[in-house]
């Protein structure tokens, strides 16, 4: 568990969200009564199939979408309160799937400075923040380059630096590795681990089960509702339910289940490959 995990920073109360549909009489309900309290400094992974409502949930956290029912609070500010929107967006930054859609400038360091500049911060403080943010994502050496010269993983790290430079308390990642190659995925996941160590609250939306095993908490969404919620070791005891929702269990969990069926004693709670290997080779 994270060291700062005592205070609720994101509170989602009975959230309902509906999209209007073209040519259809009624709206489509993407979120159907979700309540979650997310603790400051924690790392929560939200997983679910395409269309399960996980991205809609993410967009409701930093007021890109506003609730049709229920309420969302970020650090005490209610997202539906129009006067609070800048307070919320300074506290909850967001990183999206496609790095190409998030970079606005022709030079990496200008891109990272874009957010803090808009907060009206003094130039020397901006310089410090940009350098620190680029260092944090290991892109300081590329600061003078043009984003189009970078790999997907590098672009995504620049996008993360742009959010980090705003010094948010929470960062919501909406499938940040979906368009990256394995190396890019590993780079981005490493940065997430480091941001978590620094005490930033992380919410990671993903379809990659393996990315969730390092989280403090996993929330599985299905048809707009929370289907499972708990620490990885607890959530992955429900392999049958996870499969029925069209998701895969992580390798170690799936293998543990199969070996148990073959009559071997394998303790529950081994969710990473490292843990499983250590147990099998003990």
């Amino acid at each position: 568990m994270a060291k700062h995990a005592e205070r609720t920073i994101i509170r989602i109360e009975d959230l309902v969200f509906e999209y209007a549909r073209d040519g259809e009489p009624g709206p489509s309900r993407a979120i159907d009564g979700v309540s979650l309290d997310i603790q400051a400094g924690s790392f929560t992974a939200v997983i679910g199939r395409n269309g399960s409502g996980k991205s809609t949930l993410a967009r409701n956290i930093n007021a890109l979408l506003l609730p049709c029912g229920g309420a969302v609070y970020v650090d005490g500010f209610k997202t539906s309160d129009a006067a609070s929107i800048w307070e919320i967006r300074q506290r909850a930054g967001m990183v999206f799937q496609n790095p190409d859609n998030q970079l606005v400038s022709a030079i990496v360091e200008d891109d990272v400075a874009f957010g803090p500049e808009n907060l009206g911060i003094a130039p020397d403080e901006i310089r410090r923040r940009v350098d620190a943010a680029l260092g944090a994502v290991d892109m300081y050496g590329e600061r003078k380059k043009s984003p189009h010269m970078l790999s997907g993983g590098q672009k995504q790290r620049v996008a993360i630096a742009g959010v980090v430079a705003m010094r948010p308390k929470c960062i919501i990642f909406d499938e940040p590795t979906a368009m990256l190659d394995p190396q890019g995925r590993a780079e981005v996941m490493k940065i997430l681990g480091e941001l978590h160590d620094e005490g930033i609250t992380l919410v990671l939306i993903t379809h990659f089960m393996e990315e969730t095993v390092g989280a403090d908490r996993i929330v599985i969404m299905d048809a707009g509702r929370v289907a499972l919620d708990g620490p990885p070791a607890e959530v992955f005891r429900h392999v049958g339910e996870i499969r029925a929702m069209g998701l895969d269990a992580p390798l170690a969990v799936e293998l543990g289940e199969r070996l148990r069926k073959r009559g071997h004693y394998i303790p529950y709670g081994l969710v990473t490959v490292e843990e499983m290997v250590a147990y099998l080779c003990r």
Binding site: R49, N50, G51, Q97, M149, S151, G152, G153, E175, A178, M179, D181, P182, Q183, G184, H207, M209, E210, G246, L247, D248, L251, A252, E254, L255, R258, L259, R262, H264, V273, E274, M276, V277, A278, L280, C281
Partner: protein
């Protein structure tokens, strides 16, 4: 149907400060009915290579033969060739444009000048192969479909051309696990029912292990490793050095071996790893 590539060289931005040798002497041969995996991290030259196979790009030097005839020859006719080679780019659903799935899938065949009846037959066949239900999906707007269904509709549009060679660039990227396994199963079925050459470009080594007859691994414009999956995946350290990995299960078995576990064979899939670890645990228990 066969493909032969001889010493292909391609340079981007020649004479500019950004000059890059994207292909640096690539040679390969692909036989009829093979499913080939093409791996390599971003920028290794995979997409540049496949764009030479249907003449979208022309090499600086080297030659490409499709079915024995040289397509890189001066004045080679490429129209017929492009009909025979279906190339599916990454995120092909961004290229859907018609009002209905039916019209989108029919776009290619109707441009071949086929009759309405024959076009209709091709659309039904392609949707069936792609795993889309004709009755419920044909008259819908492609933009109303889920991510996985959109991808299948885009694939159906290429299948409707009845290609002899099907090239897919990361066909499962960005999809959820259920849609990913649908698409992989579909590729297996197409290979079985059609016997065409399929080239699968992917970073996903698990997909490669499951489907490919042979794998080519590219790095800096060259083919660094090639062979059946068991051979290529026995080179874990080299693959990692190229920013790639092993199939998950094979990586786990390697970790067990590093800790001294004696495991037979080279399991690449979860099923194979399950059997190998079962045997390992039994022999371990049998020992005093």
């Amino acid at each position: 149907m066969s493909i032969r590539v001889e010493d292909l060289v391609y340079v981007y931005g020649e004479g500019t400060p950004y000059e890059t040798r994207a292909l640096d002497g690539v040679s390969m041969e692909i036989e009829d009915g093979e499913l080939i995996g093409l791996a390599g991290h971003t920028g290794s030259g995979k997409s540049t290579l496949v764009q030479h196979l249907n003449g979208i790009l022309r090499p600086k030097s080297g030659r490409v033969f499709v079915d024995g005839s040289e397509i890189t020859a001066r004045g080679a006719k490429l129209t017929g060739l492009r009909r025979r080679i279906g190339l599916l780019f990454q995120y092909p659903e961004y290229q859907l444009f018609e009002e209905t799935v039916y019209k989108d899938v029919a776009f290619g065949p109707s441009n071949l000048g086929l009759s309405e009846a024959e076009t209709d037959q091709r659309v039904r066949e392609a949707m069936f192969l792609a795993g889309l239900d004709f009755e419920s999906a044909a008259q819908r707007s492609p933009f109303e479909l889920s991510g996985g269904q959109k991808r299948k509709a885009a694939i159906a549009g290429v299948l409707a051309m009845r290609p002899d060679i099907l090239i897919l660039d990361e066909p499962t990227a960005g999809l959820d696990p259920k849609s990913q396994s649908d698409i992989l199963r579909m590729l297996g079925n197409i290979r079985k029912s059609r016997g065409i050459i399929i080239i699968l470009i992917s970073h996903n080594m698990d997909d490669m292990a499951r489907l490919a007859d042979r794998i080519f691994v590219m790095e800096k414009g060259r083919i660094e490793l090639s062979g059946p999956p068991e051979d290529v995946f026995s080179r874990g350290a080299e693959l990692r050095g190229m920013g790639l990995g092993l199939p998950e299960a094979a990586g786990m078995i390697d970790m067990m071996r590093d800790r001294g576990a004696e495991i037979e064979g080279r399991p690449l899939t979860l099923d194979a790893a399950e059997l190998a670890i079962d045997r390992y645990l039994r022999s371990k228990r049998a020992r005093p």
